[in-house]
Symmetry: C2
Subunit: 200 residues, 2 copies
């Protein structure tokens, strides 16, 4: 059984992560202030660093929750229609677009966060990220049964990066601003074209 002190620390740590998530969701990474989080969860400023090692770890823990939500959204998209691998890839790509649009700041934080120079990303955070590639890998393996795992990995990565670029610039109110429905259609068309083109 956990001691009362440990239980309390666990609870406070959870509160801290949720407070950081709300803060990033509202104002992006730039708006994250540990001083404000400490006040919100009712602990001293310095006590935050008894709960997490540093701000990098806190941001990665929020990222881990974001990736879990994304994972659930992609799993749902996988089973939400025909099992044809091309159609599945299209559904996954559109679900990725929707997730980014609905969780814009949390999604951006996944890509904008930079570790303090010289500090590597911890293994658990890398494996959280890599784990999501299985959603793309599986239908590609069905589509291209003769390709090696390495080749499939490369294609999965390229496909993800291409869709990510379309979502990124499509949601950006900068060079290219696209209504979300148009963006979903474009992504579906391009992913279908890539899958069919790769199969030739």
């Amino acid at each position: 059984m956990m001691s009362k002190a440990l239980e309390r620390r666990e609870k406070l740590r959870e509160d801290l992560i949720l407070a950081a998530e709300r803060s990033i969701s509202a104002g992006g990474l730039a708006g994250l202030k540990t001083r404000e989080l400490a006040r919100e969860i009712g602990c001293a400023n310095g006590a935050v660093y008894n709960l997490v090692a540093d701000v990098d770890e806190l941001i990665l823990l929020v990222g881990s929750r974001t990736l879990a939500l994304l994972d659930a959204a992609l799993s749902e998209a996988e089973s939400a229609g025909p099992a044809s691998p091309t159609e599945m890839l299209v559904r996954i790509a559109v679900a990725y677009c929707d997730f980014a649009a609905e969780n814009l700041e949390l999604w951006r934080a996944l890509f904008e966060h930079r570790m303090t120079p010289g500090k590597p990303i911890p293994e658990w955070a890398i494996s959280d990220q890599m784990n999501l590639f299985r959603h793309i890998y599986r239908p590609l393996a069905t589509l291209f049964p003769k390709r090696s795992p390495d080749e499939l990995g490369v294609t999965a990565r390229s496909l993800f990066s291409a869709v990510h670029g379309m979502v990124l610039l499509g949601l950006e109110q900068k060079l290219i601003a696209v209504p979300i429905d148009a963006l979903r259609r474009e992504i579906a068309a391009i992913v279908k074209a890539m899958a069919e083109g790769l199969a030739r």
Copy 2:
């Protein structure tokens, strides 16, 4: 004939833009300090704002130079091989990747710069950006002669965003780090697949 005063201002303004370009090239947007630029070109701090309206304008002027260099690189790629539109699109995409790798910080600045809130991007800067889409638009128009300019515009935008995503995540030492030669091969394969898939 320009007055001596105007000539001197023109020269200083050019010096300022080049100094800003060197600074961004070395340390990214985050390292840009007008105080240091002023010292470098030998004028008072405040005098910088006789040369450009504000830092946004200065960054956009540097961006304009970057876009002109990119324009030249893409033009060269266009004519550096067979006129087949698919092969041309592949060469343009690979040239975009090479340009980004060779001018990493200047290229990043094009996408990372945010105007001061409430200030729109000036028309000339938007048209500098849009002008580059012709490199993608032209081969697409050859490839799909029956599509309307609007449809071609949408496809050009999607294709660009997809390639941009592959370059962005490929050059990033984060989620996905890829050696440049492998990245070029992946981009070529995906662009070819998209062009062939879209043509079906």
